[in-house]
């Protein structure tokens, strides 16, 4: 709870400090707030003591583990986006503050104990991102992304609320433990209202994480939004949505596992194929990233389908590895700064900027799941847990990993290739210090983080 307040207040402060027209001051406040938030989240868990208690939020081990990486990802995103934020000094504070507000929503979504806080968290998470998606006001596609995301997101929220109402109708409670107890006690005899509510909540969740067939918004929104927002959506928003997904489905609705698991399995398979097959032909980088993220959602859904005590940890490890790869790649794309965001612009990167190119290769290989990198361990944990219960699902997931390697490796080759001789040479890209730091952190995490996941 203290962490939530600290982060919120640092967001407010950065809003107002922006009037001083000193972007570095805003960055400093936001980073300090994020670090302080992380520390307070950790200490209140470590000492099992919270200054402010509120029954709607419970920061247990799950919330703290996911919350810490949410804070870390936000910090990386803010650091890497600073160079583009400060180009518009009148909006620097707004951008950073909106990201922090969205993070508080993510923290609510990881720690709620009743449906009210869940809904509030979802809204606090989404609304700043609707705004941020359109923050590049001169670009028509950015406005389009914002409007599309808002319209479809509002519709999904409506479906979610309706689902919560059905659940309330079936169980007479908004509290998660009471709903769990009700489903457990009334095994098989509960009314059909719960099933309808469950399906509605399920579809709203699948929309938020961007799983097929609710994925149509994500390529357009990822493509149109500024790079930094795409990175934030892929890392933090997805993390918050998946955290809440796991809390509601693997814990609260665990008693109805036989009902929703088959549906979710089919959708997971669909998601993997849709994401992978659409990614094959992409020529824009952020679109490729969007389809790749759809595929990864498909893999991550396995952790929710499989009922096991390790599921939460596997999901955590998976999102951890995925987030680092995405943020690293987004940083590289910001450094390359291609107007049309073509994948072709990556050609010969390693010869121009060896370190940036190296991180790009690491990120791509990690997304593909190549062994020494973190992405492999994330995938390994997820698949090895699922293989005893759902061998066929794992088989399909591995086939999809194989398809995925094609387009990731094609990009890796592009990064390694020489530039065409007949075209003018692209000059060396300038890398600001902060982005260098982010790249270094991502590289270290991708190289050595995997071993720490399975110690």
């Amino acid at each position: 709870m203290v962490a939530l307040i600290v982060i919120f207040i640092s967001g407010l402060l950065s809003l107002f400090l922006a009037f001083a027209k000193k972007p570095w001051l805003v960055l400093l406040t936001a980073s300090a707030g994020l670090i302080a938030g992380g520390i307070s989240l950790f200490t209140q868990f470590y000492y099992q003591y919270d200054f402010i208690h509120y029954e709607g939020l419970k920061f247990d081990g799950f919330a703290v583990a996911f919350g810490l990486i949410a804070i870390l990802f936000t910090l990386l995103v803010v650091l890497t986006g600073y160079s583009s934020f400060k180009d518009k000094p009148q909006h620097t504070g707004d951008y950073i503050a909106l990201l922090l507000f969205s993070l508080t929503g993510a923290l609510c979504m990881l720690s709620f104990t009743d449906m009210f806080m869940f809904f509030l968290g979802l809204e606090i998470l989404s609304i700043p991102i609707y705004v941020m998606a359109g923050s590049n006001k001169d670009d028509v596609r950015s406005s389009e992304a914002s409007l599309k995301y808002f319209m479809t997101g509002a519709f999904a929220t409506g479906v979610l609320l309706f689902g919560i109402a059905w659940i309330y109708g079936g169980t007479a409670s908004f509290k998660l433990d009471e709903i769990t107890a009700f489903i457990y006690n009334a095994e098989g005899t509960h009314s059909s209202l719960i099933y309808i509510g469950l399906l509605m909540i399920l579809s709203a969740f699948l929309f938020k994480v961007g799983a097929a067939p609710f994925h149509f918004w994500s390529p357009d929104v990822y493509d149109g939004s500024p790079h930094i927002v795409t990175g934030f959506m892929a890392a933090v928003v997805k993390l918050g949505a998946f955290g809440a997904f796991m809390k509601i489905f693997s814990v609260t609705f665990a008693g109805l596992h036989d009902f929703w698991a088959p549906a979710l399995s089919v959708l997971a398979i669909l998601t993997m194929f849709v994401g992978n097959l659409s990614a094959l032909k992409q020529i824009r980088f952020k679109r490729l990233l969007a389809y790749s993220s759809i595929t990864h959602v498909g893999y991550a859904l396995l952790t929710i389908i499989v009922q096991s005590p390790d599921s939460a940890f596997n999901l955590w490890a998976y999102i951890f590895s995925y987030g680092f790869s995405t943020i690293g790649l987004i940083t590289v794309a910001i450094i390359i700064h291609d107007e049309e965001d073509r994948i072709e612009a990556f050609r010969g990167l390693v010869r121009r900027n060896p370190f940036t190119g190296f991180v790009a290769i690491l990120g791509l290989l990690s997304l593909a799941g190549v062994p020494p990198l973190m992405g492999f361990f994330g995938k390994f944990l997820v698949f090895s847990e699922a293989i005893t219960q759902y061998p066929w699902l794992v088989a399909i997931a591995i086939i999809n990993s194989g398809i995925g390697i094609f387009y990731y490796l094609r990009m890796v080759i592009l990064v390694l290739q020489k530039e065409d001789d007949d075209k003018p040479k692209t000059p060396r890209h300038k890398v600001p210090v902060l982005q260098m730091i982010v790249l270094a952190i991502c590289a270290l995490a991708l190289l050595f983080g995997g071993n720490m996941l399975i110690f």
Binding site: L12, L15, F16, F19
Partner: protein
């Protein structure tokens, strides 16, 4: 638990509502006189003569002011239930409302500083 019969009134209500709408739509067409004229058939017929085209760019400040108005209007709506329960909520309720208003005040300060209410800029 409820059985299917309990939902019968709901079905009846639905049928009545739908039937009313449909029958009124049909009956007005049958009963009403048909008068056509140029003014009568124009898009925005409301007694006042329409001028020019409706599709021209409006200054974004109108929208901004309208949105800000809605925000602070909603703030006032939250005061009504509080005013009714003023005594029952005691000090805790007062503190909660003060916190709520403080947040709005911060937002208002931000709006002022940002210059959103300066009409000529």
């Amino acid at each position: 638990m409820s059985s299917a019969q309990d939902y019968l009134p709901l079905v009846i209500q639905g049928v009545v509502a739908l039937g009313f709408v449909v029958s009124v739509l049909i009956v007005t067409h049958l009963l009403g006189p048909r008068v056509h004229s140029k003014k009568k058939d124009s898009n925005f017929e409301c007694g006042i003569e329409s001028e020019g085209n409706a599709r021209f760019p409006v200054s974004v400040r109108y929208f901004l002011t309208a949105i800000l108005f809605v925000l602070f209007d909603v703030e006032v709506i939250f005061f009504y239930p509080y005013a009714v329960n003023f005594k029952a909520l005691e000090l805790e309720g007062l503190l909660a409302v003060i916190l709520f208003v403080a947040f709005f005040l911060i937002g208002f300060l931000y709006v002022l500083k940002k210059g959103a209410l300066e009409w000529e800029k």
